[in-house]
Every structure is written in structure tokens, then in C-alpha cells.
Symmetry: C2
Subunit: 208 residues, 2 copies
């Protein structure tokens, strides 16, 4: 898709090794451990070559971020076909891996200004995709709660697990279980746990 240099549409094996190594370092040691020297060592190339493909570290971070966003959008396309889309969305929002990397990029954006709009852009694409799914569900279920707009529920189902995880990192826990219980009681009401009557399985089905 995107290249940092005009080498055609593909990426060299060195480029993919650099991107992969960078993501690994971010996940294991945080973005602050990403240096030209550390990435080069991980990818088995020289620091100068990393800098050749990504002239500033921001270019490297942004490339990793974009690749991750693309992966999430692919995953969400599968979620929209799940039997219980609300619970699938809730499971997605509660997944640890995605939240860790998102927080890492949010923290990074604080002092790498060019990263911020890339996060926002990806966030909008993700949320619009989710909203489309949720609005369809709303119609299928017949607007279970006259009060809660799909967009509000979507935001809450995203924000609550994310903020809980963020706070837990620091050791703040008050109100977490109560907030989760609130959402799950809502889910139990509008999308009761499957007992096996409606459609095929708890895996992906095709009826949207």
C-alpha cells in the first residue's frame, strides 16, 4: 500500500523485518525503546538502513500504526457477521492486545504530533464500521431501548473497557466491576446469551 520510498508497490524483506521488529519492541518494552539502533539490531540490519526507509522515527511509527489499523478493520468485518454482534463488539473492545498498542500510540502521539491525526483517522474508520454494524443490529432487534442511541452505546462499549484497562495499569480500580456489570446487564437484556435456537453456531454465520 504505502511506501516510504519510491520502490514500487511492494515492500522489501528488510522493510517488513523493520516494521515487524518495531511492533515487537513497542509491545514488549514500549515506544520509548524504539530507536534506530534497537530496531536495527532486532531486524538484523544497520541503523542507517532503518533511517533510509524511515527518515524520521515518526515515519516508522506511522507505518506500524497504519498496518495495525488495517488489521483491525479486517477483524471487524468478521465481527459484523457474527451471530451475536453486540457481544462480539464487546469482546473486541475488551481484548487486551489491541488496547495495549492503542494506549502506546496515544502516549506516543503526545510528543510525536504527526502521529495524532493518523490515530484519529483510523479511529473514525473503525468506529464508522462498527456503527454500521450496530445500526443494522438496532433495526433487527427493534430498538430495544428508546433512549440509547447506537452511537452512544458504541462509544460506551469502547470507552469503558479502554479506560478500565488504562486505570488498572496505574492501580485505580474503584467502580470498574460495577461499570462492567452495568453493560453486561444491558447486553443480557437486548441480546440474551444464545442457547442454540436461532441459527447455526457461535461461529461466523452468513445472515448478517
Amino acid at each position: 500500500m504505502r511506501t516510504e520510498r519510491g520502490v514500487g508497490s511492494g515492500r522489501s524483506s528488510n522493510q517488513t523485518a523493520i516494521l515487524h521488529g518495531t511492533e515487537e519492541i513497542m509491545r514488549e518494552q514500549g515506544y520509548a525503546a524504539v530507536t534506530y539502533r534497537s530496531v536495527a539490531a532486532r531486524a538484523g540490519v544497520t541503523p542507517g538502513l532503518v533511517q533510509y526507509y524511515f527518515p524520521a522515527l515518526e515515519n516508522l511509527f506511522i507505518a506500524v500504526l497504519r498496518a495495525g489499523t488495517d488489521r483491525i478493520l479486517e477483524r471487524l468485518a468478521r465481527v459484523s457477521e457474527a451471530d451475536q454482534p453486540l457481544r462480539a463488539l464487546w469482546d473486541y473492545a475488551n481484548s487486551r492486545d489491541g488496547t495495549v498498542m492503542l494506549m502506546e500510540f496515544m502516549a506516543l502521539a503526545n510528543h510525536r504530533k504527526a502521529v495524532a491525526p493518523v490515530i484519529g483517522e483510523g479511529g473514525e474508520r473503525i468506529r464508522q464500521a462498527q456503527l454500521k454494524t450496530l445500526t443494522a443490529v438496532w433495526e433487527r432487534y427493534g430498538v430495544p431501548e428508546g433512549d440509547v442511541a447506537p452511537a452512544a452505546l458504541l462509544f460506551l462499549m469502547s470507552a469503558i473497557p479502554r479506560m478500565i484497562h488504562l486505570e488498572e495499569t496505574f492501580g485505580t480500580v474503584t467502580g470498574h466491576v460495577e461499570a462492567v456489570a452495568l453493560v453486561e446487564r444491558f447486553l443480557d437484556r437486548v441480546e440474551p446469551r444464545m442457547t442454540g435456537e436461532t441459527s447455526q453456531d457461535k461461529t461466523i454465520s452468513a445472515h448478517g
Copy 2:
């Protein structure tokens, strides 16, 4: 309260100038702009003196964080005496300044590990103080909603504005107005806007 050196209970004017300057720089340019050299220039002292009081940068960040937490707790003591405590809490949670600094410290904690538990500790103290207020309000209002636990509402009233502000920084906006509307509709129901009948004024009153 806390000193970094054994100079008794007070702080020298240079120490307060350093703390004040550091907070200014964080607010204006972000934590990444906080260096011994930049803080010294802002406070009108030499870099060596900053390092004398705060041997590592982490000590400096933590001192600023603790001072800020103390200020918030003082403010919350006043909130608990407000006529409309729920709305006072909501206003507090929506205040820009506090959120900016909190996010700055959260980002900072990502690569200054000693900062994280200080955030968590302060967060717990703040939330427990808020929970005490909210539980009292719950009894006074007669548990308006059998479903919503005070701790859940407290978490939501804190997490929603904070996550909204965070996302807005990046340019993600979907669902924000809907989520805010949801909370405010709830507030309208359990704590209707004062029309002037109950007590003195919309300023601080004494009846708890």
C-alpha cells in the same frame, strides 16, 4: 509535606519556582519538553540546582503530580458541599485543565515507571472521596434508579468526558454527543436543574 532533601517541612522559593515552572512547561509544551535545562531557564536557576533538589527527572515529575492531586482533593471537598453534587461532579469531570494534565501524566507514566503508582494512588484517593459524596447523595435522593450503583455512575461520569477529550485530541468524534446526552438526560431525571426553591444559591451551601 514532602521534601526531596532534608530541609525541614517548608520549600525554598527556588523549589517552588522549579515546581511551578515544570508544570507550566508540561501544560504548554508537554512533558517531553521538561529537561533540566528547560526547567532551569524557566525558573531562573541553573540546571545543576534543579538536579540538586530532584536528582532524577522522575522525582521532579512525581513532586508536581502530588501537588496537583492535593489541589484536586481540596477542590472536591468543596464540591461535596454543593447544592447539586451530581452536576458539580459532572462539571469537574468535564473540566479541560485537569484532563490535560492527567493525560500528560498518563503518557509520561508509560516510560517513567515510578510515576504510574503515584497516579493510581492519587486516583484512588480522589475516587473514594467522590464515592463518599455520591453515596450520601444516593441516600438523600432515595436511589433513583434501582440499577445504577453509585460506583458505576461515578466511573462513567469520570471516564466518559476523559475519553471524549482524549479522542477529540486525535480527531475521533463519533458517538461523543450521544454519550454526553445520555448522561445529561440521566442527570435531568435524578437531579433536575435548580429553579431556586430548595436552598440558598447555586454557590456553595453548608447543608452537605
